[in-house]
């Protein structure tokens, strides 16, 4: 168990360190400045014009390690992972639960980490893309994505992989989907149509969908 230091200044920037992320974020901010009306800024995640609310203490088991955090209660689980724990594998795509890039597993179930607050998950276990490999051995789903070229730009990939792992667990538990023919039967065969429907919460703008389906089938032990 490695205890991380409590972060009492959740929004403090990291001095002057320039990383690939800060460059990308600066670039994104510049782009937003040129394309979006003023009102969008009023809707930014944290409004700097008001005093911060009382902080909350949150304990999370992330990828098998215990983390104690002191957070602004507004902090989404995604922002807790990315901004407070430097686990930047989970991506912020739309930040509104529409793209699936932020998908993580809570107690083994897939959710959109952008649409929940970290404090709601106090005491629960979170698995992110960083927690899937064992040492240098990739998770079978990661291996399958590499072997089947299940991505191009890679931005949606960590969400796709976490979602696919959650999806296979749901399928093994016999959970139905919208395209399941007979709901009264305990389990639906995991056809291509089933996989596509069950993965519809993960958008890939590079449209690597055929290869993602093939990768999932391999990881599920099905002929591809």
């Amino acid at each position: 168990m490695d205890e991380h230091e409590s972060n009492t200044e959740p929004d403090a920037p990291n001095a002057f360190e320039v990383t690939r992320r800060t460059v990308i974020e600066t670039g994104t901010a510049a782009l937003l400045l040129t394309t979006l009306p003023h009102a969008v800024f009023a809707a930014s995640p944290v409004d700097d014009n008001e005093p911060p609310p009382p902080p909350v203490k949150v304990e999370l088991q992330i990828n098998g390690h215990s983390h104690s955090l002191t957070l602004d209660p507004r902090t989404t689980l995604l922002d807790a992972l990315r901004e407070h724990l430097a686990l930047t594998g989970s991506k912020k795509g739309c930040d509104h639960g529409q793209c699936g890039a932020c998908t993580v597993l809570i107690e083994g179930r897939r959710i959109n980490s952008c649409l929940t607050l970290a404090v709601i998950h106090d005491g629960q276990s979170v698995t992110t893309i960083e927690g899937l490999a064992t040492g240098d051995n990739l998770h079978p789903m990661q291996t399958a994505f590499v072997e089947h070229d299940g991505f191009q730009c890679g931005y949606c990939t960590s969400g796709q992989i976490c979602s696919a792992i959650g999806m296979l667990a749901e399928s093994r538990q016999g959970m139905p989907s919208y395209v399941t023919g007979d709901l009264t039967q305990p389990a639906a065969e995991l056809t291509d149509v089933e996989i596509r429907e069950r993965m519809s919460g993960n958008i890939c703008r590079c449209a690597a969908y055929p290869n993602i389906v093939a990768a999932i089938k391999q990881a599920a032990g099905m002929p591809t």
């Binding site: 809707a43 995640p45 930040d95 699936g100 959109n112 649409l115 929940t116």
Partner: protein
């Protein structure tokens, strides 16, 4: 997101007591509320987390129905063997909604309380009587392809976005609530959601501080249960028109039918006259047309959504023909 104070509720009555504070909001799955808070459409100053309350059970009731706890997640409800065996229309409707990730989070109570997806409700720079009472309705003369054709008012033409609620309307579900004094109440789902009228900001019959604890389903009525959703994408999109149908028929003759519609109004839409006209009726085009006429009585388009009138008619016709074919 605006600042709020976070509190975890110890009991449903506690949550109800906390919820009467000015600016308080209950949070469960949060998939709709946090989305709206990020946009500052919702700006609670006090957030009451009810996720730890023991409201996550699905139980058999004495009359052969089901009692679904308010915190049962949409995915768990859809996967429940009793729902799959006896309430197929509800299972299908749940699975037609959102994505798997969202269904793993979204709750039964929260699904009923979700807000409209009207673009102008979401856009804080535009007038919206629901978000900002008295400011006007930008959808009336705006881009209104997804908007209501039934039960509208000059103040609001938003639709209720839920699939689950449409199936529950067909099943005559009841919504159980508790208030801060611990008093419980049962609200028939027909009376739970409201039409916009001149107060579109008031969407349900819940009183301040009244919390949903469960939804009960009576024993299933006889007949085939079907949910059909017509939408712009095959998956992960809101309904343009959806129909929850429970039809009991044999050899081309309809004994009874229940029809609830989504995507058409500010609440799941059901017309008793349409269903009465189907009792002991021959399953033919004339009968289906009569039913569609009754459902669409008073329907009115606003330009972009005019297509919903014939689309509803055709969807209903197609469903009834398919169900009564055998």
């Amino acid at each position: 997101m605006r600042a709020f104070t976070y509190q975890r509720a110890g009991s449903a009555a506690d949550a109800a007591a906390a919820a009467v504070k000015p600016g308080a909001k209950i949070i469960a799955g949060g998939t709709n509320l946090l989305d709206l808070m990020k946009l500052q459409v919702e700006t609670p100053s006090y957030l009451v987390d009810i996720n730890r309350l023991p409201l996550d059970k699905i139980e058999d009731t004495a009359d052969g129905g089901l009692r679904i706890g308010a915190l049962v997640r949409n995915s768990d409800l859809a996967a429940d063997p009793r729902v799959r065996q006896r309430y197929g229309v509800l299972g299908r409707a749940l699975l037609a909604g959102a994505s798997a990730q969202l269904r793993n989070k979204a709750t039964t109570g929260g699904n009923l309380l979700q807000r409209t997806r009207c673009y102008y409700f979401y856009d804080v720079t535009k007038p919206c009587n629901k978000r900002n009472p008295g400011s006007g309705c930008a959808a009336l003369a705006g881009f209104n392809r997804i908007h209501a054709i039934l039960g509208t008012s000059e103040h609001c033409i938003a639709t209720h976005p839920s699939d689950m609620a449409v199936a529950m309307r067909a099943l005559d579900a009841n919504v159980e609530t508790v208030n801060r004094d611990g008093e419980t109440k049962t609200i028939p789902i027909a009376e739970f959601h409201r039409l916009p009228g001149n107060t579109p900001e008031i969407e349900t019959s819940l009183k301040p501080g009244e919390i949903i604890t469960a939804v009960t389903l009576p024993s299933p009525p006889p007949g085939v249960q079907v949910y059909r959703k017509v939408r712009d994408r095959a998956s992960y999109a809101f309904a343009l028109v959806s129909v929850a149908a429970i039809v009991d028929s044999t050899r081309g003759r309809i004994r009874s039918a229940r029809l609830a519609f989504g995507g058409l109004a500010h609440k799941p839409w059901r017309v008793a006259q349409a269903e009465q006209g189907l009792v002991n009726a021959s399953a033919d085009t004339a009968t289906f047309n009569t039913a569609a006429n009754a459902v669409l009585e008073g329907a009115r388009g606003f330009g972009g959504n005019d297509f919903k009138i014939p689309l509803t008619r055709r969807t209903l016709h197609s469903m009834l023909a398919e169900i009564t074919r055998t």
